[in-house]
Amino acid sequence: MTKLGFYPGCSLEGTAREYNESVMSLATLFDIQLEQVPDWNCCGATAAHNLNKILSLSLPARILAQAEKAGMKEIIVPCAACYSRLSVTQHELFENSELKKQVEEVMDMTLSSPIRILNVVQFIQEFILPHLSEKIVKPFDKEVACYYGCLLVRPHDILQFDRLEDPQTIDRIMEQLGAKPIDWPFKTECCGAGLSVSRTDLVAKLSGKIVKEATERGAKAIITACPMCHANLDMRRSAINSYLAKKYDVPVLYITQAIGMACGLNNKQTGIYRHLVKVNN
């Protein structure tokens, strides 16, 4: 059994519960044990770096320090926002020793060496993909729009994940499931992210563009790997539809849910019943 460090992040305990459920179900199916970072805290997300730089570094740094203390060599971070914050923090601190000292002082913990931070797609590529074909029972035989969002690929210098324009990794994974990824231009357009609650009007506009484009290009599902994107595209659908004055019902799936469905996991295991936009099996 493979044992890996795991940082769920706050969303996966709340609005993105189904994401967590599908990740855990997949891990079980592929014989992987995901061990949570002990006593983890929130990464601070957009709010922290909007308001205070040291805070925006200290919160993720504490998570890294906790993981290091637990002897973790890598952590799986399914939430794209957390993945981005953790990666950027680790990069900044190990590039700038003075800053690192300052942050260590603030959190009263130390960081000795960088650890591997894997997003969910990297996790799938490394640990699921090699054994995927043998587990597929029901190919995901649909046109899909793979939606990467901002935080998986940017800032590219630091994350070094896939390519900046027209990324392909999720598309390739979906192909393995039997899906037909569509070519579309909004793979990395912003959904409105943290403005979800405070400026729902803007989110409806930005996410609306994405939902509309995907639908018009024939996608039967949007595949994502970010709880924020999911929330904006799924939970905000009624706002989107009223902004666009048209009913769009293309479902939004986490990539882990899509894999789960193809591998025959039930709705409870994938958590798709929790979506506000209905998913037809």
Binding site: C10, E13, N41, T46, N50, K53, M107, V197
Partner: protein
């Protein structure tokens, strides 16, 4: 502020040659009072009144940190970092944009306060707090019950055990 940026965050606005590729790709450019290349120009001007206008702008709060601008900027100017800095300065100087203060900034505060007390974010509490701050009591009134039914809004917050440590982190920030 032009010089400050170089010192504090190592970004030099003088590098901007106003090609506008940032604004062209910015998802929120249409809604901003100043597009990103104009923000850069205002910084280059080293004009205090423009600095102030900038700190009072809505644009800096509308920026969603999607990083599209820097990823396509030919001069690799870290505009998101500049935006972070401007937001922090805006608060430090009490110049927050009035309309953004009502929603976006309030939300950030609610979010951080939640972490300050629990170590993690917790949507119900946070949203309740935000509603009080923003006085948007009716917002999402229809969404919440749906989410609750889908099990997406737990009633009680998960908490970090070592809350002292979290407090310590915030304390350093506050002082």
């Amino acid at each position: 502020m032009n010089n400050e940026l170089d010192i504090h965050i190592g970004v030099n606005p003088a590098r901007c040659y106003q090609c506008g590729k940032c604004s062209a790709g910015c998802p929120l450019a249409d809604d901003m009072d100043f597009t990103s290349n104009v923000v850069m120009r205002m910084l280059q001007s080293e004009d205090e009144s423009l600095d102030k206008e900038l700190l009072q702008s809505q644009a800096i709060w509308l920026c969603a940190s999607c990083e599209m601008c820097i990823s396509r900027c030919p001069m690799e100017i870290d505009i998101p970092k500049i935006m972070d800095y401007l937001r922090q300065q805006s608060i430090a100087k009490g110049l927050q944009n009035k309309s953004a203060n009502k929603n976006i900034i309030s939300f950030h505060h609610s979010f951080l306060d939640m972490i300050r007390f629990t170590g993690r974010s917790y949507e119900i509490g946070m949203i309740a707090d935000y509603k009080l701050r923003s006085r948007k009591l009716l917002q999402d009134l229809t969404l919440a019950p749906k989410m609750f039914l889908k099990g997406k809004l737990p009633l009680f917050p998960e908490m970090v055990k070592d809350r002292k440590n979290i407090k310590r982190i915030f304390k350093h920030i506050d002082t």
